[in-house]
């Protein structure tokens, strides 16, 4: 407490600025939670960050200013360049990467303080160790998430007894952590061992999780980094870090829960079951056959529809088809067709991933609807156009108890009078489950690369 009300002018300036920064962060996040004010929100938060960073140079009794400026320069410039260059489709892994860096920074703070050692209150050691553990796990885990989404790691690595191994490492990490907490002279070796174990834990925890589950995992690590930052904020007696870190920790936890719920799975199930890629075995036999259609016929069908609903999925992102799809939608609109976009909460590799891509293409957000809003409307739609989506429109989730995705909320595309599915080939989706929708009587398959097919559709609709 004494530090908070310290009479020194620099201290007052710093604490006042941190107060302003914390205030701006909360206002910024609040504004970011509504589409109309979202663009302003990041500017508020950005101003808070700038103020807090600049006044920190006035922190009393510091040295190493050259290193500090060099570090900010190196990290800032690299992040600026990569952040400006990254394609919208690759956003999830970039967020994972930047988030991992934050976790790593929290772990680094813990490491500096723990290597220093000395006599401090017990609670301070506990928080430093916990923050270090969480930060290190978030760091190495996020790097694996990045590598998986970037395609650097293609397979999910699993072996027998994997969870036992992870548990042993967790217990070992905690034991070394306890040693550091209760024996302040445990020495550098113990601290080094602690961080190596924590890094290994994040690595091994994330390796077996499939790519389809990565949105939940990235969101979880985002929340964890927030918590680690808050803990290290207590250690450094830094109110801005405590408040910002805790707010992000709580908000991130809620966001993670929302996402896991949208996939009808518990968080534990995501982390420990390895569902993401292995559940191919489940699901009953599907009756019927897939019926192909040509782009010209599909165009006629859509051009004379009253209402069409577009359901995009990760395949649209891979094919970079969002611009062509919007062009197609505009063509249809000019012919009087009512066009809406239906987004499943977990379509893509991140919650709202599809919204971002459609927004990039210029689709106004009032045409984009989420599951609860639009599901009743499929009954009245003449055409449902599925592009690159699969599991999120599989009616087996409603009807087939043996299906691994049974119970997951889906978009009821099968209720539309006609269904057109743009798909690269005849294979199954990310989960490896056969999709009953593709075999329905009113469904037609339009095979090909999403962007090329959408281009053909645009031309065909023009000439109808």
């Amino acid at each position: 407490m004494s530090d908070l009300i310290s009479p020194s002018a620099a201290s007052v300036l710093i604490q006042a600025s941190y107060f302003v920064a914390a205030f701006l962060f909360i206002i910024g996040l609040k504004r970011m939670s509504s589409p109309r004010t979202a663009r302003g929100g990041i500017l508020w938060a950005g101003a808070g960050m700038l103020v807090a960073t600049v006044v920190t140079f006035a922190w009393p009794g510091m040295q190493n200013y050259v290193l500090m400026l060099a570090g900010i320069g190196v990290g800032g410039v690299l992040a600026w360049i990569t952040g400006k260059r990254v394609a919208m489709t690759d956003m999830p892994q970039m967020i994972a990467l930047y988030n991992g860096m934050g976790g790593g920074a929290a772990a680094a703070i813990a490491a500096v303080e723990l290597y220093k050692g000395g006599e401090h209150p017990l609670a301070l050691y506990v928080l430093a160790v916990l923050g270090g553990l969480i930060g290190a796990v978030s760091f190495s885990g996020s790097l694996i998430a990045f590598a998986k989404l970037q395609g650097l790691i293609k397979r999910s690595i699993r072996y027998g007894g994997q969870q036992v191994v992870n548990l042993v490492i967790l217990v070992g990490t905690l034991a070394v952590g306890a040693l550091i907490i209760f024996n302040h002279d445990a020495g550098a070796t113990a601290v080094t061992l602690f961080f190596l174990l924590a890094l290994a834990l994040g690595l091994l925890m994330t390796l077996p999780i499939g790519g389809a589950d990565m949105p939940v995992v990235i969101s979880l690590y985002n929340a964890l980094t927030g918590l680690a930052v808050a803990f290290e904020g207590f250690v450094l007696n830094n109110a801005a870090m405590i408040i910002a870190g805790t707010v992000v920790g709580a908000a991130g936890t809620l966001l993670t829960q929302l996402m896991a719920r949208a996939m009808n799975r518990s968080l534990g199930n995501v982390l420990f079951s390895g569902f993401g890629e292995t559940a191919a075995a489940g699901g009953g036999e599907v009756q019927g056959s897939m019926k192909p259609i040509e782009a010209s016929d599909a165009a006629v069908m859509m051009a004379f529809a009253q209402k069409a609903i577009v359901v995009p999925g990760y395949g649209m992102a891979v094919a970079q088809a969002q611009h062509k799809i919007w062009e197609l939608a505009q063509q249809l609109q000019s012919r009087g067709v009512k066009v809406k976009f239906a987004i499943h909460p977990v379509a893509g590799r991140m919650p709202g991933h599809m919204n971002v891509l459609l927004a990039e293409a210029g689709v106004p957000y009032d045409l984009i609807h989420d599951l609860e809003e639009i599901n009743a409307e499929f009954d009245t739609a003449d055409v449902a156009l599925i592009i690159g989506a699969n599991d999120v429109v599989n009616p087996a989730a409603r009807s087939d108890r043996s299906s691994p995705i049974f119970g997951m909320p889906i978009l009821n595309a099968d209720k539309a009078k006609n269904v057109i599915v743009i798909k690269r080939g005849q294979g199954t989706g990310f989960s490896g489950i056969e999709n009953a929708l593709f075999y329905l009587d009113q469904t037609r398959m339009l095979y090909g690369d999403g962007q090329a097919v959408a281009g053909q559709l645009v031309h065909a609709v023009k000439s109808v």
Binding site: F25, S33, M88, Y98, Y115, T246, A251
Partner: protein, 97 residues
């Protein structure tokens, strides 16, 4: 260190704030918001600066430097990608320039 119970109060109130601020967010903003909250914990930069500033041993300086680099990456990268994403959200009325 901020006194025990004061710290707990701050922690509790901030946690409720975070929860409430996000509670009614539409799905359309999930990704930008995740990115935005990712930027906000970039405040770890000020902690990394202090940790480096008070480091006296070479080990402390090296780890502190790494911490500052990583934290600056978190803050700057988080800001740039969030800003880029939100820049694209427009209603029917306002067209892209």
């Amino acid at each position: 260190m901020i006194d025990g119970f004061i710290a707990l109060y701050i922690f509790m109130l901030a946690a409720f704030t975070g929860y409430e601020v996000i509670a009614r967010v539409p799905v359309i903003l999930h990704t930008p918001l995740m990115s935005g909250s990712n930027f906000v914990h970039g405040i770890v930069l000020v902690g990394a600066m202090v940790a480096l500033g008070r480091a006296t041993t070479p080990v402390g300086q090296v780890i502190g430097f790494i911490g500052v680099v990583l934290a600056a990456g978190n803050a700057v990268g988080g800001y740039v990608v969030t800003e880029r994403m939100l820049e694209m959200f427009k209603a029917s009325g306002e067209r892209k320039p």
